[in-house]
Structures are given as structure tokens and as C-alpha cells.
Amino acid sequence: MKLHDIQQGFKDTILDPETAEAENEAFRNIFKSDTGISLENRFKVYRNNVIRSLTDVVLAALPMTKKLAGEKFLEQAVRAYVTQNLPDKADLTLYGITFPAFIATYEPARSLPYIADLTRLEWAWEAAYYAADDQALDPDELAAIDEDSLPDLRFTPRSSFALIDSDYPLDEIVDFCRNTPDGKFTLHDRGCKLMVLRPYLKVQIHKLDDHEFTLLSALQEGKTIHEAAALIDEDDDDFDLAAFLQKHLIRGTFASHSLEK
């Protein structure tokens, strides 16, 4: 038997002990059974190593979901995800980032409608935690720009930047998970808009108002300040573009700027 076929059969047997390969005499015969322990039990060790380690990788990114949905429930869901979605590379930094889409259609999670958005937030946090280290745009760099050019400015957000728009109060969930050791969570009927950012070492979650969210989304898409601001009703008194820019320059939301058309 060629190495290629051995590895293919080994993989299939790990994933499904009932698979044809495990029943296949030729495949079984390449393994010794010298100390009296069955092939099935020996494969169980590998199955456990593979599924357990991958499940742990995904679970480690979901501490808040674990607290709200319960450890046992989440572990079952993650196991189901892992068996259907093996990693395609050895770099597991973002392995599990497609879990939110999985849990959104996972039948047993139907009674927890907020769970897909919560896992989306947790993965944005995880992606920010491992994002490439970059520097915040130095506000002094903007000082040299003449006033007429300001509307044409574009900003590139930091590598850790992410926006979350949810129909559920994720900010309250975060607060509950971090600050309430136990007790029951009451889900209020409102949505929220959040920004995830890692300015230096610590990942931050900021609550955004609707205008901020609209502007940041537009800037993220590569729109100019002028194009982004045009999305907001000009009669809206709450809106202050200068204050918005100052706030996000101080927070370190942007990595760079450009004046290219």
C-alpha cells in the first residue's frame, strides 16, 4: 500500500471509525496488533487527540458564548463543527472563524437567536488579538494637508479593526459576561453597533452610535471623508465630523491616510 493511500485511509478512519477503510482487510493488515489491544481502541486515541485538540482551539475563542450557552451545549456544537470543517492548514490562529455561520443554522441553537452574533463578536475579538502589529496614524501627519483637500481624504483602518452590527444588545452581554460571576441574563429587545480594535496589546470593544457606524463603514470601504459624510443627513444636529475624526485619531482607529483620487 502506498503512503498516500495509507494516510488517506488513516484520516478517514480517525474521522469515522465505521468507515469502509476500517473494515477493509488490506488496510487493517498494515497495522500490528502485538500487545493485545485492538485496532479500534488504538484509533480511538488518535480520534480523541484530533477532535479534542481542534475542539479546544475553537472553544478557546468563545469564552462569552460558553458562559451564556453553557459549556456542554457549546462543546457539542463545536465538535459537530470540527468534524465537518477540518482545518486546511497547520496555522490554526483563525481556525473556527466560520463557526458563526455554522451555529446560525445549527438546529439545537434555535432557542438562542443572539448566539450567531455573539460568536461573530468573539471571532472579531480573536482576529484582532492575532492581527498583524501595525502603528496608529500619527495625527501630525494630517497637519500638513491644506484645508481644500480635506474632503478627499481616505483612511485605512488598523489590521485589527472590525465593525459589528447586531439586532441584539451584545454590549450588555459582554458586560454581563465580564462583570457578573453568575446569575441570569435578561436579553433586552434592542440592537447595537460595535467596533473591535487592538490599538496596542489589548483588544477593545467600543459602542458606536449610528452616525459613527455609517462613517466608519464607508471609510472601511475606501470612501472619502466627503463621500462618507454625504451618507448622513446634513440637518442632523447630533453630527459633528471634526469631533468624530478627532475621537478616532486619538483611539488609533486608522493605520494610514491617502489623498489619491
Partner: protein, 298 residues
């Protein structure tokens, strides 16, 4: 004028270990190691945990100021029936350039088949075909990095009827063919000797000494089945007495080789981990003394 040698000695960036025994550095101990600065010879990490930016790289850079570093990979899948992933080598090389490790290693095993990465070190049949595949990948990696890597003997819970040679002969052979060095995991040899029924001392005595440049020690766990017990290489407890005995024998044969305590699950306080590395250091020191006395007598 300052000679190159003086510059090496004056650098604040330690290059090679002064003490032989080191520890695997895990995230749980990032703060403690920088506060305590324990008397260990060196540290080892899995490069795959540092491919991203942020906290992990930050702490590794800090720890690297005080300790020589070994990068011990688990993701190259050198024994797979396909070439090593280019992107993985590229990310690994970037870390080598950044952290200047004194050793680089991975395993004589496979993890990837088709598009799936199974995240475990799976056993290879010891055949001429495997030698060809594995050596092809070791050559590829050594050429890409421009330096020698170490290959570790794995733990295993299954062995093959199609083996054409024992594992020690396989390890000697790949070292001879590729010029790679051997990372001898003494716990893995012990675990396999029980799981497959062979004499671990015979294994050690048949490994060619020259390429052996690193030793690993770790704890293992018994897993009971209805038809017997399998030892599993869990890295979640102290090194067993039987493994310390085998280590004594190993040091007597290979001399003072950099030795690492690996601990990955149920990680104890840093002091306990350092205590295990002190135990390894004491065995090396005792052996070196005996050897000096033998030389004096001669």
C-alpha cells in the same frame, strides 16, 4: 578592536545555552518568567503560536532578551505524501529571522492528508518510500531556511506490519541522508516501548550519537481500555520515574545534550516546571563530574 567572539559574549541577546536544561514556554508563564528570570538554560516554543501579531510575539520578544530560544514546530507535516506547505515555511522563516533561534525542529510524522490538517503527530510506516518522502521534505525545509533542522521521534499508539526497519534505524538513516540532526524524545521512546512492546534501552543504544542535539522529556498518562492500557503522550504531568531512569542512560551515552521539559496541559506554577528542569540539569552535572573523574583516573 572588538573581535566577533567578544561581540557575541557582550550581546544582550543570548545565542547558545550556558545550561543544558530548558523549559517549554507557554502563555500562562509569560509574566512569571520575566519577573522571576529563573536559572534555566533556554526556552522553546511552537512557532505556529506566533504566526499572528500581538501579545504572544510581544512576550516572546521580551523573554528572548534573556534566554536562547528553540523553535519547535508541529505543523510542517514533513512525513505527508506531499511537499511542505510554502506559506507555512514562509511564516516560519519570518520568525527565524526575527527571533534568531539556536535550534529549529519538527517531527518524523505526518498531520496533513489531502486538504485536511489533523493537528496531531501521526505515525509513519518505516519504509523506503517514507524515507524518500520525508527526506525530500527535510531537504526542502533545510534549503529554504538555509540551516540544519532537528527531527524528533514521535509517540505512537499504532505501528505497522509493513515496517522495513526499526524506528532507530529510520532516524539514523534520515539524519545520514539529509544531514539533519536528531531531537531524541526519551518519553516518546518509553511510551512506544510499552505500547508496541520493545526494549527502550536497546533503542537508545542504537541511535547514532553524533546527530543527537536535543532531548525532550515530558509526562505521559495511562489510558485504560477493555483489552489493555495505552500510554498517551499527554504532556500534562511530571516526568515519570521510568523515564528519568531512561534519561540517565541517555545522558551516559550522549553526554551533555540540551534537554527540554515539555508541559502543555494542566500547566503547573513556573517554579514546578523549573524544578523538573533542575532535575534534568542535576543528572547532566552528575554525569559530567563522573566523566571528569574517569578522565583524571585515566
Amino acid at each position: 578592536m572588538t573581535s566577533a567572539k567578544d561581540m557575541t559574549q557582550n550581546t544582550s541577546f543570548p545565542v547558545a545555552p550556558l545550561r543544558a536544561a530548558g523549559i517549554g514556554l507557554r502563555a500562562k508563564h509569560y509574566e512569571d518568567i520575566l519577573t522571576d528570570l529563573p536559572a534555566i538554560g533556554w526556552i522553546e516554543v511552537h512557532p505556529e503560536n506566533y504566526f499572528g501579531g500581538g501579545t504572544h510575539r510581544h512576550y516572546l520578544a521580551k523573554a528572548r532578551e534573556f534566554y536562547p530560544l528553540s523553535l519547535h514546530a508541529v505543523g510542517l507535516s514533513l512525513g505527508s505524501d506531499k511537499p511542505v506547505d510554502e506559506e507555512h515555511m514562509k511564516q516560519f522563516k519570518a520568525l527565524i529571522d526575527l527571533f534568531e533561534p539556536f535550534q529549529i525542529s519538527d517531527h518524523a510524522s505526518w498531520s496533513a492528508s489531502g486538504n485536511a490538517h489533523l493537528n496531531d503527530l501521526l505515525p509513519l510506516p518505516y519504509t523506503k518510500e517514507t524515507i524518500k518522502r520525508l527526506c525530500g521534505n527535510i531537504d526542502r525545509v533545510q534549503n529554504y531556511f538555509g540551516r540544519t533542522i532537528l527531527i524528533e521521534n514521535p509517540s505512537s499508539y499504532l505501528s505497522y506490519t509493513i515496517d522495513e526497519m526499526p524506528e532507530y534505524e529510520f532516524m539514523n538513516d534520515i539524519a545520514k541522508r539529509t544531514g539533519c540532526h536528531i531531537l531524541l524524545d526519551v518519553n516518546n521512546i518509553y511510551v512506544q516501548s510499552v505500547n508496541h512492546g520493545f526494549d527502550p534501552y536497546h533503542y537508545i543504544d542504537n541511535i547514532t550519537p553524533e546527530p543527537v542535539r536535543e532531548i525532550h522529556l515530558a509526562g505521559h498518562t495511562e489510558r485504560a481500555f477493555d483489552d489493555g492500557t495505552i500510554l498517551v503522550d499527554t504532556h500534562n504531568r511530571p516526568v515519570r520515574d521510568e523515564v528519568w531512569d531512561l534519561y540517565e542512560h541517555t545522558i551516559a551515552r550522549f553526554g551533555s545534550v540540551p534537554t527540554l521539559i515539555e508541559w502543555d496541559g494542566d500547566i503547573p506554577p513556573l517554579s514546578e516546571l523549573v524544578g523538573e528542569s533542575d532535575k534534568a540539569q542535576a543528572i547532566i552535572d552528575r554525569h559530567m563530574k563522573t566523566q571528569d573523574k574517569t578522565h583524571e583516573a585515566a
